[in-house]
Symmetry: C2
Subunit: 418 residues, 2 copies
């Protein structure tokens, strides 16, 4: 068997996307012991980097050693004891996932649903909170299955008014869309690296407010084998050990209580992802995603395709495109992959076979990747049997870039933008 | 904040150890989408590599995307429904961990304990099985907290005779000590990369026998959001979603049912770890660990130190050394780290502050690392206030290597070994 030697790919699906080359280099950094002073200092630094990424001062900001799904489950299984009530607004596949995971944690799960391609008006969520009176509101910010971006900025105040904890999964949205954990009153947030952060799947940055930590404290339990006199032992500990955030926080905190062995390579990757984002600047990164997303959106429209869903609530970093009747969706995706080396995605459930999902995320939220993808899509559609305007996608995308460039130039010159 | 730039370290503790440079290079491999034909083929190949590492033909051989502790919890939470009975023989810190995790999974946990530094006679485990009649026997093979290696080769037949499932955690032992999953009748086994496999923490190779898979099948449940008509839905699904092995097997299997997003970088690392081991040969790798372990053992004795525990049941790849009264244990460890760049470990619970643990694992199971460590230990003990024979450690270790080299030379020459 030969060593891993992947084909050249440009990953323009809903994630994972190509890792930033700086992140790949960081992954190859030599290991250091988990209690080495340099390692604990690097863990502290990584916590501070993710506080800045999330827009929070939460002390309890850590990495969960698993994929973004591990971060979701860590949050839900730690905050929800069996019998606790949770409200999950479902607007796509990942809302169903939150409900599924909360149910397995033994919670009483209440869902509200809206049509795929839409988000919830804030008032609908508030009405459900008043009706259900849950302990926790759990909502996805950006659901890649539909590309929608649920507005969260008013939900924290509503939750606080009703004494409800507020958790959100920002895996698909963080970096590409605004997020202000403290200003929006979010108590618990979890993410992954493989979308707009430009890293590999396998590490889940997560942050908890002091209010959320207080909930954990009621079930804190130091495990046998490392327990010392006076340590907490709960009759009803969190039902997972690996994903017990109280233990994970003790491991990252000043006591450094042994839990798992930190996945150092993924820590290095997470650290580098955050540094890349913060060097460019949070607002600038969101703006770059907004621009690439607008160019891709206008580009697919320029090819005569229809965009799925409520475009005014779309995430910047992914667009769902209705598959035209004239072509076979999987055949076009295969042609994109095999003839052009470009990956785009299909979707789940009601959208399976109905839309392609095209991402412009992280390292791949660039003009050249947008243009290359639209050019390849034009060729693949044409060869798949649909007539498309020559250059219709590329021109529309470049017009977006040119327009915004002119506006930016004017701003830099001190002129009033149009 | 600066990029991660660790100090030079030689990691001779109980793990993690220095990753093989080939594994570091593999980590830096570009990403590919999770359903790319190349990626699914690489996943299949990795499954086959770990079948060979484990000595099994189990179809259900996968990676769990987390540290070795995630693998343990995946096995226990998937095989044990609430109320099921489990027997855990505890001979160190990680036996307590198995009991803790099984308890959080809702199992009724029965433990038997032996003194730290000892293993169980097989008959004692069989007697407990007869008394308890558990659904599952869960036992650590090698417990790094004590360095002991529990003999497993007869337990499978005993479990089969009594209708008990047999799980073992081989994180600390695999690669450095014999393991024959099929020949020994093991139903479930989980590991990690960061010991004798020479990789980073963060991926947990795991294998299940058909008998274990049949147990999972009774609780198989396809999650909402990707469920199709006819799919299994259980009233009592496995209580974790992330660590649900039925779902993880469906993700790795022919249906490729979406679950987590595979941690591709860690998959690459796991793949390379297995290839390195299999290229050298399973038996040859065990023999290399046996030789390095014997050299380190004789080396610390040559410095006048006392080895902890039942040496005849010690893992090849780690030795526990009693801290002599004349020195301060942490001061010597600090001198090793700060003056020589070499990490050795302390231990947990009853052994905390009583022993150092010195590992010779994976890429670091070499003559030069053994000699360098013993040389540094001699200097650190001397400067810490204990008089030690000059060269006593280095000479004893080199004698072991010289003796075995002579024997191997004789074998290669066709002569009868002594």
């Amino acid at each position: 068997m030969h060593p891993v030697n992947p084909p050249a790919r440009l990953l323009m699906g809903p994630g994972p996307i190509d890792a930033d080359p700086r992140v790949l280099r960081a992954l190859a950094t030599p290991l250091v012991g988990q209690y080495d002073p340099w390692m604990t200092e690097t863990m502290n630094q990584t916590q501070e980097l993710y506080r800045r990424v999330f827009g929070t001062r939460n002390e309890a900001t850590v990495l969960v050693d698993g994929t973004s799904r591990a971060g979701i489950e860590a949050a839900l299984v730690s905050l929800l004891a069996p019998g606790d009530s949770v409200l999950v607004p479902v607007f796509g596949r990942f809302g169903h996932l939150l409900a599924e995971i909360a149910g397995r944690a033994g919670a009483t799960v209440h869902t509200i649903e809206t049509e795929w391609g839409q988000v919830f008006p804030t008032s609908v969520i508030e009405d459900a909170i008043v009706r259900v009176r849950p302990k926790l509101l759990a909502v996805v910010q950006g659901d890649t299955s539909t590309t929608m971006n649920q507005p969260l900025d008013e939900l924290g105040a509503i939750c606080e008014r009703h004494g409800v904890l507020f958790y959100t999964d920002v895996t698909a949205s963080v970096g590409g869309n605004p997020l202000e954990v403290d200003a929006w009153g979010i108590d618990a947030v979890s993410a992954g690296l493989q979308k707009c952060l430009g890293g590999p799947s396998g590490s889940a940055p997560l942050s908890l407010s002091p209010r959320a930590v207080a909930v954990l404290d009621t079930r804190r339990s130091v495990e046998a084998g490392i327990r010392e006199p006076g340590d907490d032992v709960s009759e009803h500990p969190i039902q997972s050990n690996y994903l017990d955030l109280a233990m994970i926080i003790d491991y990252w905190g000043p006591r450094r209580l042994n839990h798992h062995t930190e996945a150092a390579s993924m820590l290095y990757a997470a650290n580098e992802c955050a540094r890349i984002l913060l060097e460019e600047g949070r607002d600038a990164v969101v703006e770059r995603h907004a621009l690439a997303g607008r160019a891709m959106l206008e580009g697919v429209r320029g090819l005569g395709l229809t965009v799925f869903g409520d475009v005014s609530h779309k995430m910047h970093n992914v667009v769902a495109v209705e598959i035209p009747d004239e072509v076979h969706g999987d055949a076009v995706r295969s042609a994109m992959l095999e003839d052009h080396g470009i990956e785009i995605g299909t979707s789940f459930g009601p959208l399976h076979g109905r839309v392609w999902r095209i991402g412009t995320m992280g390292y791949n939220a660039r003009k050249d990747t947008v243009v290359t993808t639209l050019s390849a899509l034009e060729q693949s559609l044409r060869r798949g049997g649909k007539s498309v305007p020559q250059g219709g996608g590329v021109d529309a995308a470049l017009d977006v870039y040119a327009g915004l460039s002119a506006e930016l130039d004017a701003q830099l010159d001190g002129a009033v933008p149009a």
